[in-house]
């Protein structure tokens, strides 16, 4: 699964290290400073930073440009790319452009439906799905050709990521889908936030049984909880999210001013448990608009210094 010009994330994962990635949501505006401030909060604490692509279908600074700002600061971006807004022509073009700017990691997604966003009147594209996008990036990398078969003078040698949700329905299909993403070309997987450890471990067991953990690096998703309300909201309102009642009760059981500390405790316990799961090669911290907390999580989890 080598890209020939590996970035930091690929080097760490391929040498058997335990990777730490975090998320940076670009601003709803044209300020590079906002991106840089978020970058400063993450610098030296994580191996790579995912830059979201108009997440929840809300218009934000493009993933390519925010990734480039981070790159200029010495951070390594994982450019997220969704198939909702661009057809195959635009996707390939942007992958070439991103690589030319120095971006080495891509996370291939289909993207949230526009009806969840701020402009539900928009038309979606969905020319191809995330599986096709993974295969497209692989073909560009390994065969040096675009989708028409045209030979690229410099192929974009991206390290290819994909998402997986071990908690979604139907459960039996989740491992088949993971296998398909690996066959399509995924080098690494970032999962939905893990709160339901039993279900996550069962999914990992099935993945190991199919030999999938030998073929791909799995980074487990972590989102620190701020309050019982947030836990409940995520469980009930966020599609594909599973927050067990025990976690919600635990968050509700502490005084309000202690909720953040309790959330952090849950986070650290989860990370400690994940590190023991065979086949988990890292964590992906999605502290939504709360990048300040990432440093504490990484430090208290004993994951510093980063290589």
């Amino acid at each position: 699964m080598s890209t020939q010009s590996p970035g930091r994330l690929e080097k760490i994962l391929s040498s058997g290290g335990f990777a730490v990635t975090a998320e940076c949501g670009p601003p709803r505006g044209a300020s590079a400073d906002v991106v840089r401030k978020k970058g400063e909060l993450l610098k030296g604490l994580v191996d790579a930073v995912n830059v979201t692509d108009n997440q929840t279908a809300i218009v934000r600074m493009s993933s390519i440009s925010a990734s480039t700002h981070l790159l200029q600061m010495g951070l390594e971006p994982v450019m997220q790319m969704v198939t909702r807004d661009r057809n195959r022509i635009a996707l390939q073009s942007d992958i070439l452009g991103a690589y030319s700017l120095g971006i080495r990691n891509i996370l291939c997604l289909t993207g949230d439906h526009q009806s969840f966003g701020s402009q539900p009147d928009a038309m979606n594209v969905f020319d191809i799905d995330s599986m096709n996008l993974i295969r497209m990036v692989l073909t560009m990398r390994s065969e040096g050709r675009d989708m028409s078969g045209f030979e690229l003078n410099v192929p974009p040698r991206m390290f290819i990521g994909a998402a997986a949700n071990p908690f979604a329905d139907p459960f039996e299909y989740r491992v088949i889908r993971l296998a398909k993403k690996i066959d399509a070309g995924a080098d690494f997987i970032q999962t939905q936030c893990v709160y339901n450890m039993d279900r996550f471990k069962e999914w990992m067991r099935l993945a190991r049984e199919e030999g999938l953990t030998e073929k791909v690096h799995i980074l487990a998703g972590i989102t620190p909880l701020k309050s019982a309300g947030m836990a409940r909201y995520m469980d009930r309102r966020v599609a594909g999210m599973d927050v067990p009642e025990a976690i919600i009760k635990r968050m509700a059981g502490v005084a309000k001013d202690q909720a953040i500390e309790e959330g952090l405790k849950i986070c650290l316990e989860t990370i400690a448990e994940l590190r023991e799961v065979d086949g988990v090669h890292g964590i992906h911290i999605m502290a939504i608009e709360w990048e300040e907390i990432v440093g504490r999580i990484v430090e208290e989890a004993g994951l510093l210094p980063r290589p």
Partner: protein, 222 residues
């Protein structure tokens, strides 16, 4: 069949307001079946419009007429005199019908009274569901006869997203998740292995994406 829904009366009032004499032209095929533009709907709309305009103190003459199909010349001709007698025609056919009528009557304004919504199935009395988007390249054999291009909100062709819950779509909890249905069908057919097969990007060129389409049946052309 083609499913459509009559426009709200307020919108129809605005559309026909500039005219004194209007013809409401029904269509006796698809839109009749979905209660949007058959003879009965023409009659109901006529009464409703007369009442509404009377209330506003606005004078308008409305004539009613329904043909078998507005997408075929043979039937359109039957309405020729009625169209000529009026200042404008409000067609209650689908968008294809409106256009077919318009191109036969160059000088007569032909106005739409129906929003054409989709190609679908009468699931039960009063419930229509969209099942086909006419992509011109049917692949239902792979998907257990459930079309993900039409019935999955994200047109996923390689399996379900992570957002469906209890078999319902994350975009609308009233809508069945197409992939849930596909998996059910393939399980029943013993073809679950199909799910492991990578499905290549769809060729959209035979769809509307390749430009407006024409179908020529040489054997039928006179």
């Amino acid at each position: 069949m083609i499913v459509g829904e009559q426009k709200p009366i307020e919108e129809i009032k605005e559309i026909v307001a500039p005219y004194k004499n209007i013809l409401i032209l029904g269509c006796g095929t698809c839109v009749k079946t979905c209660f949007a533009g058959g003879e009965d709907e023409v009659a109901v709309l006529t009464s409703a419009l007369r009442l509404a305009f009377k209330k506003d103190g606005h004078k308008i003459n409305i004539e009613e007429h329904t043909v078998e199909r507005q997408c075929e010349d043979e039937f359109i001709h039957e309405a020729a005199e009625a169209v000529a007698r009026n200042d404008a025609t409000l067609s209650l056919a689908c968008g294809a019908g409106v256009q077919a009528v318009a191109r036969r009557f160059v000088k007569a304004p032909i106005l739409p009274g129906v929003n054409t919504t989709f190609m679908g199935v009468l699931e039960k009395q009063g419930l229509f569901t969209e099942e086909c988007s006419g992509c011109g390249n049917c692949e239902l054999d792979i998907f257990g006869a459930v079309c993900p291009f039409t019935r999955c909100a994200k047109k996923l062709l390689n399996g379900p997203c992570g957002g469906s819950q209890e078999g319902k779509c994350e975009v609308n909890s009233e809508t069945d998740c197409a992939w849930h249905l596909i998996i059910e069908r393939l399980t029943a057919l013993g073809q679950l292995d199909n799910l492991r097969t990578y499905i290549s990007p769809k060729n959209w060129s035979p769809s509307l994406s390749g430009g407006p389409r024409k179908l020529v049946r040489e054997d039928q052309v006179i």
